[in-house]
């Protein structure tokens, strides 16, 4: 205790030097925490956007993850409603799951008859109201709901959403009243025919569109409220071509160009009609959105256990597996954070070494006297390590307090920005207070760094010959 008392008071003996050292540690801490808070903000916003779109976990028929994306229809879950019921009834899962909903994926061609344009697409059939609930998920509070978000009605089966890029390609800017959307160049859609394709025998698909038009004819026009129409052509599970009429409710930016240029969201029933025709309808997957991301492992374990119990040939994948970009971005930011922390750590390390070396030098006679009075080498070493660690404690605590103030100021400044993974500008909300792991980690790291930095000077103090120390002037 005496050693700790001496160390504590010695920190303030040379006030200016100790203050400068503590400030160096504090500024280092602030820099690390602000970078960490920004990275947390970016990653949590990214995670939120993925979870809003694709949920935390997706259940597929076994083998889908490796082979099914080439032909989603073949890998459909036949009795998906029974599986959803099983999940909803399970007492463990029902506490964690906020949305459980089927999806139907498909590939096809979208054609805009009016503009004489077409484009290969991939699409997702969803239950609109459940998709709407998923899009309100905001567990971390960093991603505000998009005020431009327009829900789809459940009862209008043939309306849906397309990517903004796809709307441009299909020449629907005017119909959808999209701002900053150039008109489709007419000549590009009238390219000369490919001679290889021209040489193929002609096949007549007019009957398919006629069937789709006939289905449409039975519905009142008022239901579509003047939404522009697309014809979606796809192959059914049996390989036969199939066409549905699809009305574009609105276009949404998707953040990634390839995705934006090809994506279609439609009602699950329409997607099932497209993929399964008149046959029994399955679903490509069942999406689970959890209340909190930290429930993911428990929910997955429970699902796997239920699959085994019920002998279901299903597999489950989380959002990280289904979005490899998330892992890549996480890895990149992790490396960036470690690199910056290393540089800052080196600067703090040398500052503390310098301060502690000066402290030892100035107190050489005192060290000699303490040793003469019976203090062991170990107790002298410990005293200086305590002193260095205390510099770290005060500096790190000050750094955390100041970082919190800065974060509070930034978060209330109304600044907006576009994160690298987002489609539009969002308020800048540095995520620090909720990141207790980072706060504790940075605090402990800086204190440990300060203690390590004082080891060499402390060792020098401990090994000092008493007689030389007492003679020191």
């Amino acid at each position: 205790m005496m050693g700790l008392r001496v160390a504590f008071r010695s920190v303030f003996r040379n006030g200016r030097r100790s203050t400068m050292t503590m400030l160096t540690v504090a500024v280092g801490g602030i820099a690390i925490l602000l970078i960490g808070a920004l990275i947390s903000h970016i990653m949590l916003d990214f995670q939120t956007s993925i979870v809003r779109r694709s949920g935390h976990l997706t259940i597929y028929k076994a083998g889908y993850f490796d082979f099914g994306s080439g032909n989603p229809a073949i890998y459909g879950i036949d009795d998906y409603k029974k599986t959803i019921q099983m999940i909803s009834d399970d007492p463990v899962l029902s506490r964690m799951v906020s949305v459980v909903t089927p999806i139907q994926l498909f590939f096809g061609i979208a054609g805009n008859e009016q503009a004489d344009t077409s484009k290969t697409i991939f699409g997702q059939g969803v239950v609109p109201s459940e998709r709407g609930r998923m899009r309100r998920w905001n567990d971390y509070g960093v991603s505000p709901l998009d005020p431009r978000d327009r829900p789809l009605p459940d009862d209008e089966v043939d309306v849906g959403i397309i990517g903004r890029g796809l709307a441009k390609i299909l020449g629907m800017c005017a119909d959808l009243q999209l701002p900053d959307c150039p008109e489709h160049p007419a000549d590009a859609s009238h390219a000369p025919p490919n001679p290889d394709v021209s040489a193929l025998p002609e096949r007549d698909f007019s009957n398919l569109t006629a069937q789709a038009d006939a289905q449409d004819a039975v519905k009142p026009d008022a239901l579509h409220q003047g939404f522009p129409r697309l014809d979606i052509l796809s192959a059914t599970a049996s390989g036969a071509p199939n066409v549905v009429n699809f009305y574009v409710h609105h276009a949404e930016g998707q953040g990634i160009k390839d995705y934006d240029d090809s994506f279609v969201i439609m009602n699950l029933k329409l997607a099932q009609n497209l993929v399964y025709g008149r046959g029994a309808h399955g679903a490509t997957g069942i999406v689970l959105q959890l209340t909190h991301t930290n429930q993911l492992d428990a929910a997955r374990d429970r699902l796997i256990s239920l699959f085994k119990q019920n002998k279901l040939d299903l597999e489950v994948h989380d959002y990280r597996e289904l979005t490899p970009l998330y892992r890549q971005v996480e890895g990149f930011f992790g490396f960036l954070f470690s690199f910056v922390a290393l540089i800052i750590g080196i600067v703090a390390l040398f500052t503390i070494i310098n301060t502690m070396t000066m402290n030892v030098m100035e107190r050489t006679t005192e060290i000699g006297a303490m040793r003469a009075l019976g203090a062991t080498r170990e107790s002298v070493r410990r005293q200086f390590v305590y002193e260095g660690a205390l510099l770290g404690v005060f500096g790190a605590t000050l750094g955390i307090a100041l970082a919190m103030l800065i974060v509070f100021a930034i978060n209330h400044s109304g600044m907006t920005w576009t994160p690298p993974t987002a489609a539009g500008r969002i308020p800048l909300q540095l995520y620090l207070l909720g990141n207790l792991k980072m706060l504790v980690g940075v605090w402990l790291g800086l204190v440990a760094l300060a203690a390590i930095a004082s080891l060499a000077p402390a060792n020098r103090a401990a090994k000092m010959p008493i007689i030389d120390a007492l003679r020191h002037v």
Binding site: M1, M2, R5, V6, R9, S10, R13, T365, E366, G368, A369, M370, R371, A372, L373, G374, A375, T376, R377, S379, I466, I467, L470
Partner: protein
Amino acid sequence: MNTQNAPALKLENVTKIYKTGAIGVTAIQSVNLTIPRSKFTMLVGPSGSGKTTLLNLIGCIDTPTSGAVWIDGVDASKMKERHLTDLRARKIGFIFQNFNLIPVLSALENVEFGLARKALSSAKRRRAAEESLEAVGLQDRRSQRPNQLSGGEKQRVAIARALVKQPSLVLADEPTANLDTHTGAAVVDLMRKMQEEIQTTFVFSTHDTHLIERADELVSIRDGMLVENSDASPEGMLA
């Protein structure tokens, strides 16, 4: 050797040579000295005579080049660093010329520091320190830091710190050198009084001739060697 009957201190043919590059400077040469227990022994000699070096060797904070130093019947010259530290902590009290109080501790805490290696509860340690500080008449200055004390008060705190652990040997290296004559005499009187009270062995060095009469034993040193006191006058001892 029976440590109970052994002298407080015995030096056998002790030599100390400091090496400065290729040159060796002999600070102490073939010193043989026995100091009985419970005596107030004064080590006198002019500046540069080797008083401090001899006290450092006796106090086990320096090691002799040759010879043996016996403290309480134990040969300290053969001890390892760890055991020497333990010996100093248990048996030897130091009073320095420059006081060497720890500046960040109060007078009472400085005295407590003398007990840092004793296995005592904090309450007992505090009580012993208070008694020791009271014995040197500084109970009212217990909370003051060294920079708030006068030179005489600092040295009294140093005396309390040296005596609080009840050592068998107290070494004082020119404890009056940084004090005025009156204060220096008072400090020596205090040391003498306390030595009589606790019956410990005191060895203190000085070149102040006015203090010689207060000693039980006189040891004179010149050019690193002990000299016979043929001339018992103060001037003769310091010549």
